[in-house]
Amino acid sequence: MTVELLFHLLGVAVVASPNILLAILGVSTLLGHPLDEAVTGRLTSAAVLFGLLPAVVILLLMLAVDTRYVPIELGDWIAIDEEHFHFHLKFVFDRLSVPFTILSFVLCGVVGVFTRRYLHRDAGYNRFFLCYACFFSGIIISSLAGTIETLFFGWEMVGLSSALLIAYFHERENPVRNGARVWSVYRLADAAFLVAAITLHRLTGEGDFAGLMGSGPWPESVANIDPFHALLVGSLLLVAAAGKSALVPFSGWLPRAMEGPTPSSAVFYGSLSVHLGAYLLLRVSPILDQSLVLQAMVVIVGAVSALFGTLMSRTQTDVKNALAYASLTQVGIIVVEIGLGLRYLALIHIIGHAALRTMQLLRAPSLLRDYHNLENAIGSRLSHSSTPLMQLLPLNFRNWCYRFGYERGFLDTLLDNWITHPILQFLRWSDSMERRWTDWLSREPSRESDAVELHPEVNGRDS
């Protein structure tokens, strides 16, 4: 067996493992026979193990044979040769994807084990693990993607599973509202990503990262694209990354995402999903290098997000929101590092931050209990005094910062007032015009739907 064949087999195992888990859980749910908790738990553990071990072996082999780039070509999923259209399935193990993939397996495994106990006998256990498997599959595909289309494939799966898990406690309105809000932001970010991918294709004729980023493995590659087009495409990718990583002006969705169960909050917004935007920027960093303006934009977005995050985290009244904004602060700093070209530092920062934040979020429920026990023992509240730096600032300014942080930077309000509401107002006006038109044609009220009961299922209309 040659080294190439071994790489290929191990690489396929890494990619296939979470997808097989998703297929098994998905099919059993579709057939109306969800698996029991024990089986689901064991399958999840097996999927993590059979993906993690090959990934580690690949890392060791790469070190042993001193190679920094291992492509796994699975051929064309779709090909129309006459039109030069190919959807090529290619996965890449390099200095960026291998650490992130191993991190993904480890954290998904930890969260999976945690959840087996955390959601034991919960009615939504199978639903959680189905969404978890979708996320797991998506994050592995995204991190190992060798083409921009493959990355988009995983990107969408991560977004969907995220929104559904935020709305996990779906018998209440708030989680559902917040899930819908997050999904809306994700869809807009996905649209920006798709437009960027198509634009890249048109400009360079390439979707393959190896071709896009030129020669040399990450991070030494040089993109074969001119500065203007780099700015155009890079801006779109920055919007996509900002949406996924909750950077300004999309930071409003991050605290809403804390409605989901603690394990999903940990793995999504503490560790993996929230870093996916930064990962995308790292992956396309050769494009960033082609435009100084783009680099400046990245640094500004990251810096503003970090500033917002630190202000907002200090005004939160619950631990998960505080941790969410603390995550935002760190992600903002990571993005600044990427904009400044400090790629290895950004990658190490991602790994360290992801591990720490996962631990903090998983510990959050028991942390509160620990604080209560401590306060009961000492007989009073724990004291919190402001730092000497804060005491130097004028009181009015401190109060303003508090209100600004408490209102979460007014970002949601701005987006709602300037974008969402005007569009919805126009659409409602159009609806009323259509109603007038059909009423005029009919010579009577034309909409039977106006008389539809709000809750027919409550009024005994069940069949």
Binding site: G32, I78, A123, F153, R172, R202, S446, S449
Partner: protein, 481 residues
């Protein structure tokens, strides 16, 4: 012309007619439903046989063996080609799953005999190319929904005015094209009339209000069956595409794009499920038109792929909504219903079909949408991004709809609202197609690309022959009635 090995088309067309006649005399609605399901199954088998037989011939077009209509009228009225070959089984499948998912609560209101008649008309329509037969069938197809609304005592004015305009435009356009046979402006006028007719039938804004009115007034099943086969797009493909100049096609593409984005936005503000479905469907159907009007191989391939994926996914989406409506009545989207615990399979299927319609990865819609976007951006680099915007808005609308219907509150009931066996069959059938087509798209894409190339060649051939083609040409038609 090549011949199939069996009169598949005639059997597929005549079976539902025979079934309608039998069902008409059944007093027992349950027996009528079962007979309808059996008839639809046989029609599907026949349509599949036609497709497989046609594929085995390896030709662009073919007609039936023992062609009864050719014998009687000495003309090949029903001809199948690469474009319409998969549309017949798709149409038969749509009728089958709709019949399968009809619960007893709907049996009293849903006319099975007229459903089978409309299936027969639809299958005959899809076997026709541009001809008077096609014109007549397109006009006649508008009658069953009108009869249903009239019988239910609903106001039919909106529908009548729009469909009457459609009929007049279609007949006038085709008649003008056939009888005058002069080049230049006259052909342009005929083309404009045919285009207006096809776009009206497709529900392109601002001529789409008949569709929302249909969903308001007719039964949900009838409305779904009338729109999801995308007969309007078929009319565009047969009447408009071969003769319209490029500038006209580009104008139509832009209008369709505007409709796609507008309808996607309108779906977000609807407060009732049927209207919500109607706008969602309108948006996706307009994307098909956008691709058809591009007239480039990639764009056409994308449009033909999206046509099939929209037909499968939105039919599934529609029958899911219909299933929920059968259980609780008309669904308001103004508040949350929390029906997940009572209908988990329907909830999952709602999500699957909705995501398939927006081109979510690993579903049947993904590849078609990618190709369509590629084709649109090729021709309109800036405006083409509106397709992406429409898909994004549709995605938001679908999940909002899911959350409204299945989540948000706790709903308790002592009556089981779980999926019934026949519904489960329909769900599994469509899920298999959605996921199978999504994971293994290459055969479908190859077939649609082949058809798209032939369509492009016909269009180029028709343009090269102008003005002689205008004088003598009956586009893509073996028989001119």
């Amino acid at each position: 012309m090549p011949e199939l090995h069996f009169p598949w088309m005639e059997v597929a067309i005549l079976l539902p007619l025979a079934g309608a006649l039998c069902v008409h005399f059944f007093k027992n609605r349950d027996l009528a439903r079962r007979l309808t399901i059996v008839t639809c199954m046989l029609a599907l088998v026949s349509a599949l046989g036609e497709w497989i037989d046609f594929a085995s011939l390896g030709k662009f077009e073919a007609h039936d063996h023992w062609d009864l209509f050719a014998l009687l009228f000495r003309k090949e009225a029903f001809v199948i080609d690469e474009l319409s070959a998969p549309l017949l089984p798709l149409a038969a499948l749509i009728y089958l799953v709709t019949a399968l998912s009809t619960l007893r609560t709907k049996v009293g209101r849903f006319s099975f005999s007229w459903t089978l008649v409309s299936e027969s008309i639809l299958l005959a329509t899809l076997c026709c190319r541009a001809s008077w037969t096609l014109v007549v069938l397109l006009v006649v197809a508008t009658i069953p929904p009108w009869i249903e609304m009239w019988r239910r005592g609903r106001c039919t004015r909106v529908y009548t005015w729009h469909m009457a305009a459609f009929a007049v435009l279609l007949i006038a356009g085709w008649g003008w094209f056939q009888w005058t046979n002069r080049p230049g402006e006259v052909a342009l006028v005929a083309g404009a009339l045919l285009t207006a007719a096809a776009l009206l039938r497709s529900g392109v804004a601002p001529m789409h209000c008949w569709m929302t009115d249909l969903f308001e007034k007719a039964t949900f099943g009838t409305a779904i069956l009338f729109v999801t086969p995308l007969t309007g797009a078929y009319a565009v493909m047969r009447f408009v595409l071969p003769i319209a100049p490029s500038w006209a096609l580009q104008s139509i593409a832009i209008v369709s794009l505007i409709t796609a984005v507008y309808a996607a936005g309108m779906a977000l503000v609807q407060l009732e499920a049927r209207r919500f479905f109607c706008y969602l469907f309108l948006s996706n159907a307009s994307l098909v038109l956008v691709g058809l009007e591009l007239a480039t191989p990639i764009g056409l391939t994308g449009a033909l792929c999206v046509w099939l994926s929209v037909g499968i996914s939105l039919t599934g989406f529609g029958i899911t909504l219909r299933g929920v409506e059968s259980r609780i009545g008309r669904i308001s989207l103004a508040d949350y219903h929390g029906l997940y615990d009572q209908m988990p399979t329907l909830a999952g299927f709602f999500l699957l079909t909705g995501l398939a319609s927006i081109g979510f990865p690993a579903t049947v819609g993904f590849v078609g949408l990618e190709l369509l976007i590629e084709g649109v951006v090729d021709v309109y680099p800036l405006i083409g991004t509106a397709v992406v915007g429409a898909a994004a808005l549709n995605g938001i609308a679908i999940l909002l709809g899911y959350f409204r219907i299945f989540t948000g509150r706790r709903h308790r009931t002592v009556v089981s609202l779980r999926i019934r066996p026949t519904e489960r069959v329909a769900v599994l059938l469509l899920s298999g197609l959605i996921l199978g087509g999504g994971l293994f798209p290459q055969p479908g894409v190859e077939s649609r690309h082949h058809a798209a190339v032939e369509l492009s060649r016909q269009r180029i051939g028709a343009k090269l022959e102008e003005p002689e083609a205008v004088a003598t040409h009956a586009p893509t038609d073996a028989s001119d009635d």
